[in-house]
Amino acid sequence: MLEAVKISKEFPGVKVLNEVNFKFYPGKVNAILGENGAGKSTLLKILTGAYTQYDGEIKLNGKTVSFSNIKEAQNAGIAIIHQELNLIPELSVTENLFLGREMLTPLGLLDTKKMEAEAQQIFEKIQLHVNPKTLVQKLKVGEQQLVEIAKALLSNADIILMDEPTSALSDKEIENLHRIIEQLKVEGKTIVYISHKMDELFRIAENYTVLRDGNTIDAGEMKATTEQDLIRKMVGREVLIEKKNSESQFDTSILKVNNLNLSNPNNKTRKLLQDISFELKKGEILGIFGLMGAGRTELLETIFGMHPNNSQYAIEVNGTNTFHKKPKDAIENGLAFVTEDRKTEGLVLGMDISANISLTGLKSVGLLNNTKDKAASQNYIEKLRIKTPSETQLCQNLSGGNQQKVVLAKWLTTNPQILMMDEPTRGIDINAKNEIYNLIKELAANQMSILLVSSEIPEILALSDRILVMAEGKIKASYLASEANEDKLLKSALPE
């Protein structure tokens, strides 16, 4: 049993954990619930030896342990699957899997064949269909996540910590993972599971602990509680996500995409996107749903001018024909793009909030206006409820949800006509999610047009006026909000 006794951790100016207590039981899935910034990630880092300075005790099977680095935690049988992927893009899938525990031939050389065979085996177990020789950078986020899971499985750890393992997975992949987790439970492993998806927790978890603002709020058995109860404990009030059931009338066309095609530079035979045409109206929220690899992200990227050499298309923005050779062109045309990965694409983590928020609005040549930027940032910090001591806080010190809000603020400063969002609430807690939902609705009500890509059906249903479903690089179906439901969306999204 893994136990945490009165763990506290402080960062300059913020107390992230305040005498937190936990018990994680073997053969069970132990859920940790809490909003972003509640301290979950910090706790995991302490448990895995990434943070070595803290108050309190960690006990493993009754004995107090203290890990001075990650390796020691691994040797003690603790593996972690990170929310933010930790793979090396330039290495192959197999090389990543065996990093630090490579198999050797009797001569002491790398036994590539054996490792690849082993990798193949484990991939079959988790139904990941990639060649073990593939470079990790060629994989989509969802596939990379599965590789992380394979890595933890491979280490034969007794305690597996999973931080939002399903946030980037399709439903099928999630089912897969849950099947594997059941298997691990039977083998007597301790699973510590962080997720914001309630239905998922009720399906697989036995125990829960709720964290709020660094404090342990409650702990108990899943079967003795309800979703509403847990949510109330997490956020301190009840939150509901409702499906949008009626749509308003939209007249003015703002974006028309005609015959958009995107070829794959590595594979000439299969196009990433094929003959995509659609129209976005002023003030409309257009949801784009699809499974992993359907081409949703690529579609937004192409419209934003990120693939000028591999794409052909005609788009009209506000009735004017245009082609975006680079993001700058798109921004000048009134587009904004909240990207999926806030760390690599959204933020300059080493700069402060104010500098990040103002980045999109700066003239190419000109003077900085710190007073104005500061005021604008403070305005957004308040409006979006970004949790931070001040606007001079570096973005790397913010929690995921707050980082996401900074990304949003950064794009809102450009006052875009068309806001494209790729998984805007990925890895974000329910409370922050709702705040972002309300913001999106408010923006649309103020005549901003929104392209919303999401793999979460409730999110798509809650927000969209109209929904496009993509599969294999094509648009497969289009529904009005009133006629859409979970079944229809899923059915259309499945590849033929």
Binding site: E345, V348, L359, L362, G366
Partner: protein
């Protein structure tokens, strides 16, 4: 009062404190150090490295590197001297163009900038790593210098030109004025302009910067252009100080310049650092050189000591980052 080494103020002014201790140490060991003649002399010597290093800081802030500044300094120094002394002769057209001091200096700066822009063009257009592109320029520019000078120094450039390197204005050596102006300009650029902000953003996360609509290539071109121009300014200072352009002028200056940047706390991986830090770094190197000479340390040991100081600076910097 409880002063800990982790106090933010101390961390911020760490290199300044190091400099202070260094000066104190040397002045205790040698009474020649704290004389105005010597101190002005040190500053005059440092001014060349300061000019190069502020340009280098911009490059490094962008997670780049410029190995060619020493060679660009050499070439622009030679061209400046050559234009001043011999002018331009177009035999086919029977034309002779003479150069004033200012004309020659501007020409040198333009050529420095052009060479820097060429660096930037290679780096952005062909996605060549800055290390490789500027390494090539290091060789090219040095070779051109040798060709242009035929390996012979160009000397006796006139008193007017000599004034730049040796003269005084308001009791301060002219090179110190010039480097000060360069520093102020670049400090202004980095702190007050969008251009400066873009440099930090590119160094911190180039992809995020690109997606934010920043014209990465233009910024990079400009920065390498500035670095080349700053090297040319350094070239003018060196040449006028000696009243002669040496074919091997500026050899391995890029290393002192990178050292100044690193000692000044700028991260080689980009995004973090300041121009003022670099200036302090350059002063530390200058004072160290001067002190070692005053203390009669052999030139060979001087190199060893300099290397150790660079290592220490980077190690302390790393430890600070970890403590964060």
């Amino acid at each position: 009062m409880n002063i800990s080494l982790n106090h933010p103020l101390i961390k911020k002014s760490q290199s300044l404190i190091a400099l202070f201790i260094l000066c104190l140490f040397i002045s205790l060991l040698s009474d020649k150090f704290m004389t105005s003649t010597n101190l002005w002399n040190v500053l005059r010597q440092i001014s060349v490295n300061v000019c190069i290093s502020v340009g280098m800081t911009l490059v490094v802030l962008m997670a780049g590197i410029d190995l060619s500044v020493g060679s660009i300094l050499g070439l622009t120094a030679a061209i400046c001297a050559g234009l001043l002394k011999n002018g331009l002769v177009f035999e086919s057209m029977n034309l002779f163009v003479g150069f004033t001091v200012l004309g020659a200096i501007l020409a040198a700066m333009l050529i420095g900038m052009a060479l820097g822009l060429f660096n930037g063009w290679v780096i952005t257009k062909f996605a060549i790593p800055p290390f490789v592109a500027t390494l090539a320029m290091l060789t090219i520019a040095r070779g051109l210098t040798m060709l242009y000078t035929e390996g012979i120094p160009i000397s006796n450039l006139g008193p007017e030109f000599e004034f730049i390197g040796s003269g005084w204005i308001l009791g301060i050596p002219v090179p110190v004025w010039i480097s000060l102006i360069m520093v102020l300009i670049v400090v202004f650029l980095t702190n007050k302009t969008t251009f400066g902000r873009f440099i930090y953003a590119i160094g911190g996360n180039e992809r995020a910067a690109f997606l934010s609509g920043i014209s990465i290539n233009k910024i990079k071109l400009t920065v390498y252009g500035i670095a080349g121009m700053m090297a040319a300014v350094g070239g003018v200072l060196v040449t006028s100080r000696l009243n002669s352009a040496q074919p091997n002028a500026g050899m391995s200056y890029e290393l002192d310049s990178i050292a100044a940047v690193v000692i000044g706390g700028t991260s080689l991986s980009g995004g973090v650092g300041t121009v003022t830090g670099t200036v302090i770094g350059a002063v530390i190197i200058g004072v160290l050189n001067n002190g070692l000479v005053l203390l009669d340390v052999s030139p060979f040991w001087q190199q060893v000591v300099k290397g150790i100081v660079i290592l220490l600076a980077v190690i302390i910097d790393k430890m600070n980052q970890k403590n964060k």
